[in-house]
Symmetry: C2
Subunit: 163 residues, 2 copies
């Protein structure tokens, strides 16, 4: 068979989100990702958002889709319409029972102290600050749905591996 698994690509991770406005503000404005494209599904009453770190995003819809579905490091957000209007609605973040399984996504930053100082200024919710616990070199943020985002120093910028 003409398929070589070593040439496959780990393309994206999908999480469901309650309110895309809040979530996009977090991943775009706080964490610096770019929205590649969004796909509305009228029949299923949901919208998919694809984000990634990128210097620029292609112009045409066809090129945007190729871009989103050809690279590693893409975050897919699924919004089932209407959840944002239900005060009691919440997704599980995977880190407590019931529903333990998924743990977190992790983002490498250029300067972890400066990045965390900025998160404080922006009033981002921390699960773990650099000063909390034993591991002083990682932090955990909580996104608008409560999903954990690990913050790690990029060793290619600082020269040292984080662990």
């Amino acid at each position: 068979m003409s398929t070589d698994p070593s040439k496959y690509v780990f393309n994206h991770t999908m999480i469901r989100v309650k309110d895309p406005k809040a979530t996009l503000a977090f991943y775009e404005n706080v964490l610096g990702m770019k929205l590649i494209t969004k796909l509305d599904n009228d029949a299923g009453k949901f919208t998919l958002y694809f984000l990634a770190y990128a210097d620029s995003i292609p112009d045409t819809e066809e090129e945007k889709k190729k871009f989103a579905f050809s690279r590693p490091g893409v975050l897919e957000l699924t919004h089932n319409w209407g959840t944002e209007n239900d005060a009691d609605f919440a997704y599980a973040n995977g880190n407590k029972e019931p529903g333990r399984g998924f743990g977190h996504i992790a983002v490498l930053v250029d300067d972890i102290q400066a990045a965390c100082d900025r998160f404080e200024e922006l009033k981002v919710n921390f699960v773990k600050r650099l000063t909390d616990g034993k591991m002083k070199n990682i932090a955990f943020l909580s996104d608008p749905d409560g999903y954990w985002v690990e913050i790690i120093q990029n060793p290619l910028v600082s020269g040292a591996a984080p662990v």
Copy 2:
């Protein structure tokens, strides 16, 4: 502050796994990822495994860590020791209540028909075959813990975007 969020990197996605032997066999042998490194934590009684698609893995432990913590598309598996010996133990896959939130990870393949034919031969569990449902161009596998893995044609190989 000297931090530029647009230069951050979406490095990894972490999921907890019950039995690393089964999970590594799936992600390495079936899906073609390589194990970069594993980190044992004796005090916490857990082991972390870092996998990614890569042509080769560095030799030294320090270089392996730099490799794991500097690129997009890394999969981190957390194994809490002993869960593999508990017949009743299971993690939530995020796709049903209670615990709905996380959806799936997605892997791009070079030839989706050949890839799915090989998964059938390997007796992999499908959540959705290419022939199931309305979307004939994507499949979903179930990994050993029941996490969903979306299988998508890489448009840079086939020339067409999958959606």
